[in-house]
């Protein structure tokens, strides 16, 4: 008998509420099938794209004879090509994602976001892949459209455990080299890495014409740092520990965190990376609906 796994990261009510929304790509996508997203290639959709001079080899059926009658020149009528979207869910499974505040761990929260977006994408006929990593790629499920594949993603998500160190930039550079066709790369991480290196890796993805969106997962307690008593901070990625009185270093910590977040956000904005701060305490619906709606409206 097949074991029924608990998948609390799938929120059906949330999916119901977000089901009317679609995830739009902000740039051309190169899918394998016809879809709802614009392709860089000319296709056979009903939407006119442009006229182009006839060159040898073009299908003569595409020649616009009315233009020929007026100008006695051969022009080919081109139409937009619609394709499906291939989304890569890059999911940080390093030890730091295990950090849990009052509203659960960052890992669980991110997993919920991944699962919800994957479901939405599959529902609208797009392909979704899952790239779970820490300092190396743990699981790499290439984008597929089928519900079966979605099931495989769920399976994978339920099996993942956060551990180890992070090497996001390396993973992103690898992905940038590996993904041949234009795709939507959505990264779920706390991005506790060097901002410059991160922005470089985003640039690499963008250079490959990918649409990059990031969900910056930070817990409220990480952002407020409100502990009163001295704490022995143990690095969740296996580094050294530190004993400190939070009251004494609160402002310096927050200043460092703020500088980092500011740099990351500015780096994203300057490179047209879609930045979303996702706080577990604020729930998944808000951040996802904002993400989807902004894309629908064409916001950068």
């Amino acid at each position: 008998m097949k074991e029924i796994k608990q998948r609390d990261f799938i929120d059906h009510e949330l999916l119901g509420r977000l089901g009317r929304l679609t995830l739009e790509a902000r740039s051309f996508m190169e899918g394998g099938f016809a879809g709802r997203h614009k392709s860089p290639h000319r296709g056979s959709s009903v939407e006119f794209a442009q006229y182009r001079k006839y060159v040898q080899g073009d299908d003569i059926r595409n020649i616009d004879w009315r233009i020929f009658a007026r100008t006695e020149r051969h022009y080919v009528k081109e139409f937009e090509a619609d394709t499906n979207l291939r989304a890569y869910m890059v999911f940080d499974c390093s030890g730091s994602m295990r950090f849990a505040g009052q509203d659960g761990s960052k890992f669980e929260y991110a997993r919920k976001l991944v699962a919800t977006l994957a479901q939405l994408l599959v529902q609208q006929g797009d392909s979704v892949g899952l790239q779970a990593f820490n300092d190396k790629m743990i699981r790499d499920l290439p984008p597929r459209t089928s519900p079966k594949h979605l099931y495989a993603i769920y399976e994978t998500l339920s099996e993942l455990k956060p551990s180890g160190k992070t090497d996001l930039t390396h993973i992103l550079h690898t992905l940038a080299s590996k993904i041949k066709r234009r795709a939507l790369v959505i990264i779920f991480s706390d991005f506790f890495e060097d901002v410059d290196k991160l922005v470089d890796s985003f640039s690499h993805l963008l250079f490959k014409k990918h649409d990059v969106a990031i969900f910056h997962i930070l817990d409220e307690s990480e952002m407020k740092f409100e502990m009163v008593r001295p704490v022995r901070f143990q690095d969740m990625e296996g580094g050294e520990s530190l004993i400190a009185d939070p009251a004494m270093i609160r402002n310096e910590y927050l200043e460092q965190l703020n500088n980092y977040m500011k740099a990351l956000k500015e780096g994203c904005l300057s490179h047209k990376v879609d930045y979303r701060l996702a706080v577990p305490g604020e729930g998944a619906e808000g951040v996802l609906s904002d993400f989807l709606l902004d894309r629908l409206r064409g916001h950068k």
């Binding site: 030890g95 730091s96 994602m97 295990r98 950090f99 960052k106 706390d190 506790f192 910056h216 930070l218 817990d219 990480e222 952002m223 407020k224 502990m227 008593r229 001295p230 704490v231 022995r232 901070f233 143990q234 690095d235 969740m236 990625e237 580094g239 530190l242 004993i243 400190a244 009185d245 009251a247 004494m248 270093i249 609160r250 402002n251 310096e252 910590y253 927050l254 200043e255 460092q256 965190l257 703020n258 980092y260 977040m261 500011k262 956000k265 701060l277």
Partner: protein, 654 residues
């Protein structure tokens, strides 16, 4: 700085380290926590280390100091009050110059403790902080005795003796102290003086102060002078005294006039109940006071054969019970004779002035030089010498007369430059003509021949017209002065009596003294004064006299330790001795701190003026308050340092 509770301080001091201990315990009791954003923590720790450590140290310091000052405050620091500075430092010997004069009997507002009791309490409390090796020596103002105290508890004996009715002479006491130090070499000394700063106690004009100051400076021992001044005066105080008791005959009946003076330190209409006890018969009279002083005469008729009696006047007890009673006595009736030695035309006038009424016990006789000896030996009270050049024998007889208590009133002209009676040397005669004269500006209205009348009226001394004068080259005790400061009436004490020299004559080309407005009362008072030598009643101020300890007490405090220091009536062989508080003790004048600084200039002197009616707590309140302020200050600083800075708004939260 010293503490009344050093034991408590010793217990509390270790608690100063409590914040540091708690801090380290807290550091050890950290909570383990898995943390993701470690890089920021490391960076934060690195950048905050300098200031955070400094802040942490400051917070700990503030907490420790707050506890330290709390401990210090609870240990009752003494530096702020008399006790603190009086007992600071170590000394081998502490001299306690204790003022037990009458005015130290002033009660505090509660009416429970007088100044003497309070000063002893303060000294005893403070002395607790002295080392056990310190020797305490009591210099008693009343007896002038200097006693080494076996323990401070012996000071209570002074309380048993209580406030005396005597005065105090601080110079004499300090001279005694100096003599003791000089002969005993007691090491480093502190001299603690207690007192109410009465001007009369200090007599700052005494030229001997300078000598004493130099003497103290010359001592090898280090000496610190500490003055505990309890100078607050009672808010409302009335004092009573009998200025004079005069027995006289009138229409063959004998009377005694008791001149009573009430003084108070406030004004406003008030009825004062005066109880007069004469020969154990009490009479109560309500007298109305409107001014600060009231003089009135209580006249009592006595039998012609009454040989004398005594009594007292009393007013209700007030804040200063020491001046609410006064004793008096009178003797048998006797003739008061005045001899006028004058060759001038006003000799009869002078004789008349000395015995103005018939049917009284006053008489006068005009004599020549040869009659002096026989006259003065016959109950003579006063000899008036006017316009006469005295022979050597005459002078000898007159001086013999004054030695026994006789009074002489001397008028010019005198031979300029020569000494009369070996006391008075007159300068040249000065004259003015027309309207111009030598006006008199000041005179002693409280005692002596020019004092106010018994009814409290001033004599018209300033209205005298003086056209000629012959002032003495060397003035004695000045009783009245001209406007230019030269003496009009001088007193030269000799033996028990005195020679009064009036700088102007009675003849009309000298002055208008002959009119009698001033002359008559002046002569009469000198007659009364001179007659006292024959009286069986002797009025004295209370002052220590060991020889009087065994005399019989007729009225007063029978339990008094020293009779000579307790006001009362005493039967001393063939005389009645009336002892009362000195007039000085009723004075309100205080010696200023500046004056004391001058007296002790160049010496280590400090004064604590306990002006308020205060308890031990208020004596220390200054320092206690200061410590409390410090505690609050440290707590405020600590609170400020532990205040959270405004939280930085994170980029993502904007």
């Amino acid at each position: 700085m010293t503490f009344l509770e050093p034991g408590l301080l010793a217990i509390l001091l270790p608690f100063v380290a409590l914040p540091i201990i708690i801090h380290f315990i807290n550091r050890m009791r950290y909570t383990p926590m898995d943390w993701a954003a470690m890089e920021f923590l490391f960076r934060a720790k690195r950048s905050s280390t300098k200031f955070a450590k400094l802040r942490e140290i400051l917070i700990l310091a503030c907490r420790c100091l707050a506890i330290l000052f709390l401990g210090l405050a609870l240990a009752r620091p003494l530096s702020g009050g008399w006790l603190g500075w009086a007992f600071s430092g170590s000394s081998d010997t502490v001299f306690i110059v204790l003022d037990r004069s009458n005015s130290m009997g002033v009660l505090d507002e509660s009416g429970q403790k007088n100044k003497l009791e309070k000063s002893i309490t303060m000294i005893k409390d403070s002395a607790k902080t002295k080392s056990q090796a310190t020797k305490f020596v009591l210099v008693d103002s009343a007896t002038g005795k200097i006693t080494e105290l076996e323990s401070l508890e012996s000071l209570d004996d002074s309380l048993l003796f209580g406030v005396s009715d005597s005065s105090v002479d601080m110079h004499t006491l300090l001279q005694t102290t100096y003599d003791y130090i000089n002969s005993n070499n007691p090491g480093n000394c502190e001299i603690w003086m207690t007192g109410d700063l009465q001007q009369s106690n200090w007599k700052p004009d005494n030229t001997e102060w300078g000598t004493l100051n130099v003497d103290f400076k010359s001592l090898n021992s280090k000496i610190n002078f500490r003055m505990l001044a309890l100078s607050h005066r009672p808010d409302k105080n009335i004092a009573i005294r009998v200025n004079d008791v005069v027995r006289y005959s009138k229409n063959n009946k004998d009377y005694i006039d008791i001149a009573i003076r009430l003084t108070r330190n406030y004004t406003g209409k008030e009825s004062v109940r005066v109880n007069l006890d004469l020969n154990k018969i009490e009479t109560v009279r309500e007298v109305s006071m409107t001014q600060e002083m009231l003089d009135y005469i209580h006249t009592v008729e006595v039998k012609n054969d009454d040989t004398g009696g005594f009594g007292s006047v009393t007013i209700p007890k007030d804040q200063n019970p020491g001046d609410n009673k006064y004793f008096f006595a009178y003797g048998s009736s006797m003739e008061k004779k005045t001899a006028v030695l004058s060759k001038g035309k006003y000799s009869k006038l002078l004789a008349l002035a000395a015995a103005p009424l018939k049917g009284t016990n006053q008489s006068s006789v005009i004599i020549d030089e040869n009659q002096i000896k026989s006259t003065v030996s016959d109950n003579c009270s006063l000899v008036i010498v006017e316009n006469s050049k005295l022979s050597e024998q005459a002078e000898k007889d007159l001086l013999s007369f004054t030695e026994k208590g006789g009074q002489i009133l001397l008028f010019p002209p005198l031979a300029a430059g020569s000494k009369v009676l070996n006391l008075v040397e007159a300068s040249q005669v000065e004259k003015k003509s027309g309207e111009d004269d030598f006006p008199i500006s000041t005179w002693d209205e409280f005692q002596g021949p020019l004092a106010k009348s018994r009814q409290g009226e001033s004599l018209p001394v300033n209205k005298l017209y003086i056209s000629a004068r012959q002032v003495p080259s060397v003035s004695g005790q000045v009783m009245a002065t001209f406007k230019d400061g030269k003496p009009f009436l001088s007193k030269f004490g000799h033996g028990k009596g005195a020679v009064y020299y009036c700088s102007s004559g009675i003849e009309s080309d000298w002055s208008d003294l002959y009119k009698g407005g001033v002359l008559l009362p002046m002569i009469n008072r000198l007659v009364s004064e001179g007659s006292k030598q024959y009286s069986s009643v002797v009025n004295e101020n209370c002052r220590y006299d060991e020889s009087l300890d065994k005399i019989e007490i007729l009225a007063g405090d029978k339990a008094a330790a020293y009779k000579s220091l307790s006001a009362g009536i005493y039967n001393d062989a063939d005389r009645i001795l009336v002892l009362n508080r000195p007039l000085d003790e009723d004075g309100d004048s205080l010696v200023s701190e500046d004056t004391l600084e001058v007296i002790f200039s160049g010496l280590d002197f400090s004064m604590f003026n306990e002006t308020q009616d205060s308890s031990k707590e208020t004596m220390q309140s200054e320092l206690f308050s200061l410590f409390t302020i410090f505690i609050l200050l440290f707590l405020v600083v600590e609170g400020f340092l532990t205040l959270r800075k405004p939280q930085i708004e994170l980029e993502g939260q904007k």
